[in-house]
Amino acid sequence: MRVLPTLQKQQHALASGAAQRRRLAELPLARTFEAALDGAGLLPLVATGIDVLQINVGKKCNQTCRHCHVDAGPDRTEMMPPDVVDACLRVLAESAIPTLDITGGAPELHPDFRRIVAAGTALGRRVIDRCNLTITRLPNYRWIPPFLAEHRVEITASLPYFQGRQTDAQRGEGVFDESIAALRELNALGYGRAGSGLVLNLVTNPVGAFLPPDQRAAERDWKRELGRRHGIVFDRLFTITNMPISRFLEHLDEKGQAEAYLMRLVQGFNPGAAAGVMCRTTLSVGWDGTLYDCDFNQMLDLPVGETLPRHIRDFDAARLAGRTIVLGAHCFGCTAGAGSSCGGAVA
């Protein structure tokens, strides 16, 4: 598979969250996100609870996807240290948060991945692995599919399209074929098969600067085409809008499309989607334990409000569950059209 250097490795001008925020601030918007929320009667945007503890265990990945909001890649070294892993698991054990969502990078590259999964499932929580599929094909990581099946981990796997050209254009040459091989193996273990209880959901991000299609219509297409072409089955398809930060922001700038894309997101603001944004029910933990409203704020170095506990070791459910969400222009990415979240469309 072809991989590229990350923005950080390139020492690119957009490598830091602060630089990305500055770039976003330069783009003219018809209105601010706060004004859009205000018009919908949703300002201030307040969390309604913590249903999902999403932990980003590190930025290392075996792929360098063009749209990656993490700027993940093989050259990244950030990894959640063991004491932060312990703090996350302690919070999970001492709270009633029903879902542990493990993301990265490729989360399976974290040396404690199996310990985290085992602890989450032992607590009886729903555990989600955000899997890039190709990681399961690497010789040292062939243990992943049977391990996930054994622990009945829900898999949310990325596959932007049911054809190779589009998938490889976004995720790297050769990714599609390896992804199909991985999906076949997961199907053979029971994943995605009715009655197995092993949940396999797919995620699609548009291969370019446009909004995702209707999720239900796309799911019908994906199921038909992946079944017909490759004999693959899965449970649900989640459509996710590309967030105009990090590598996708770099891509937009390279194409001269940053302003037009932001305009599209602003124009597509949907109050219904805004009411259901995932940050209202999710708490995001960075590799170093810092707390964020979502994985996107995490990459922009925008932690939860300054009066709140800002590290997982200081977790306080009562204060965090009803927190006011930190906002920015990028938030239009979650509220355009049918909306977008880690669980797909929201409206």
Binding site: Y161, Q166, F210, L211, P212, P213, D214, A217, A218, R264
Partner: protein, 112 residues
């Protein structure tokens, strides 16, 4: 603002300004246009592909930009969109060619 050239891409976003001259007509157009493209006996995706093909037939660059985006956002892919453009081109080509019958009719009248 420079208005010295035709077909300026940012002008697409100013489409609504056309309503200033006749707001009531614009509102009727907007309502009708919205209803035309709503999901009906044809899907919104099919309608976007038809619009893309017609955009090529009427050679409207604004419409081509708008319905390329719309087709992608309705889940069509490059192959499907290119086939739609070929349909428009085939009808345009065919419509020229079918006039060859008219030519033949006139030849018939003039010839011996």
């Amino acid at each position: 603002m420079d208005h010295s050239h035709y077909y300026h891409a940012p002008d697409l976003a100013r489409f609504g300004e056309v309503g200033k001259g006749a707001p009531a007509l614009w509102e009727k157009f907007q309502a009708w246009y919205g209803a035309v493209f709503a999901e009906g006996a044809l899907t919104a995706r099919e309608k976007a592909l038809i619009a893309l093909a017609v955009s090529h037939a009427v050679q409207c660059p604004y419409c081509i930009d708008a319905y390329t985006t719309a087709s992608l956002e309705h889940g069509s892919n490059e192959e499907q969109m290119t086939e739609a453009v070929h349909v428009a081109a085939a009808i345009r080509g065919g419509s020229s060619l079918v006039h060859g019958v008219q030519m033949r009719n006139h030849l018939e009248r003039l010839g011996m």
